[in-house]
């Protein structure tokens, strides 16, 4: 017989069971601190940032199954949320400046998945990095490449640096 207790009962029980419960009042979509007007980062014009992004992208590409990709392209944007709406369609509560790097040239395979379900695969790997820290904030694979130019008109080709001495 199914019990019809509301989910809040479980939260109350959680409070009773542990002294450290990490559940505060629920935040809602759109309640992000909008804010501070962010600006497009300029790192793609700086060799050390571009090199770091390239290295991070190639490392991720390798772990997702493609050791030597054909293309590595990047854009910079002032708004993480706007970038994700193009890349993954996801709505997220973050408007920080980010770099988006897109890798193609093989079949990428997701690193985890539910049991008894094939790991998702795709031919385009897209990685988003926080501009301030270069922390990876998002990563995904698709069959059709999300259009980077929709995020920013200045699409930078990072691949040639791989060949540099």
């Amino acid at each position: 017989m199914a019990r019809t207790e509301h989910i809040t009962a479980s939260l109350a029980l959680a409070l009773a069971m542990t002294s450290a419960v990490g559940c505060a009042d629920e935040t809602e979509p759109g309640s992000d601190t909008e804010a501070t007007e962010s600006v497009k980062p300029i790192g793609l014009t700086r060799t050390e940032i571009a090199s770091s992004l390239q290295a991070l992208a190639l490392d991720t590409s390798k772990r997702w199954g493609v050791e030597v990709p054909a293309t590595v392209r990047a854009v910079a944007t002032a708004d993480h949320q706007a970038a994700e709406s193009v890349i993954s369609g996801a709505i997220i509560n973050d408007h920080s400046p980010v770099y988006v790097v897109q890798v193609t040239g093989g079949t990428f395979t997701a690193l985890h998945h539910p049991p008894n379900v094939e790991a998702p695969r795709g031919t385009v790997l897209t990685i988003t990095f926080d501009a301030a820290t270069l922390r990876m904030t998002d990563v995904g694979i698709d069959e059709a490449a999300p259009e980077l130019a929709q995020i920013d008109r200045e699409v930078v080709d990072l691949q040639p640096m791989q060949l540099a001495p």
Binding site: T4, G22, P115, I141
Partner: protein, 228 residues
């Protein structure tokens, strides 16, 4: 004396249900999961309280462990939204990022598979509710500990079948890979938008050496190489 011994055993092992871990087939990840497939009655979401006590990938650059819930938007779990915590999401080969809150979705019709790592803090040894809930317009909202993480859009394909899973996953099961934790308060949200505090008829499933048990007071213990 024999009676005292039996009582002692009952106190030590209050397990109501235990999975019988199965031999792990080659090429597959390791899981210890609470699972339930609904043909109806979970159309609008699912939630569970997760406490992670141990979460360590022995090789975080290339391997991962996670403790999480999947909400399959189809009965076969082909497409889903997932929320949890993960170790082994490498930032780069020099500075692996540990203990990340994440959510992800896998979508049909060219929607792709996408993981998101919001800057949300959490701690080992504390319970957090992970939740996926219908947001209308073919979308689902993902929460961790009451914090909105994001919305998975264009991820509904009709139908009322849902696949609910929660527990641990490991891309390998080396002695240096550790996951431990507990779950309770599993809930589902039906089409009438009422939360029901059950995954009635749920089952347990695990790949050795991963394991999961549920106690008589409906708290699970899942573990891979402990401690938990």
């Amino acid at each position: 004396m024999k009676r005292i011994l039996l009582i002692a055993v009952a106190v030590i092992a209050p397990t109501a249900d235990a999975s019988v871990c199965t031999h792990h087939p080659a090429g597959r990840h390791w899981y210890a999961e609470l699972q339930k497939t609904y043909t109806t009655r979970a159309e609008h979401g699912a939630a569970i309280n997760i406490e992670t006590t141990t979460l360590t990938s022995g090789s975080p650059v290339s391997e991962l462990v996670s403790h999480e819930m999947w909400y399959g938007v189809t009965g076969g779990c082909e497409y889903w939204v997932e929320v949890g915590v993960k170790d082994g999401v490498a930032h780069d080969s020099v500075n692996p990022v540990h203990h990340q809150v994440f959510w992800a979705d896998n979508r049909a019709n060219g929607g792709g598979y996408h993981e998101h790592y919001p800057a949300v803090g959490w701690s080992l040894g504390a319970y957090y509710q992970v939740k996926v809930v219908w947001a209308g317009n073919n979308s689902w909202n993902a929460y961790f500990g009451g914090v909105f993480l994001g919305t998975s859009t264009n991820n509904y394909y009709g139908g009322v079948h849902r696949c609910l899973l929660a527990g641990l996953e490991a891309s390998r099961a080396a002695a240096t890979d550790h996951v431990g934790g507990h779950m309770f308060g599993w809930a589902r949200k039906a089409r009438n938008d009422v939360w029901y505090q059950d995954w009635d008829g749920k089952s347990l499933w695990s790949d050795c050496p991963a394991d999961i048990d549920v106690s008589s007071d409906n708290v699970t213990t899942e573990v891979l190489h402990g401690p938990n």
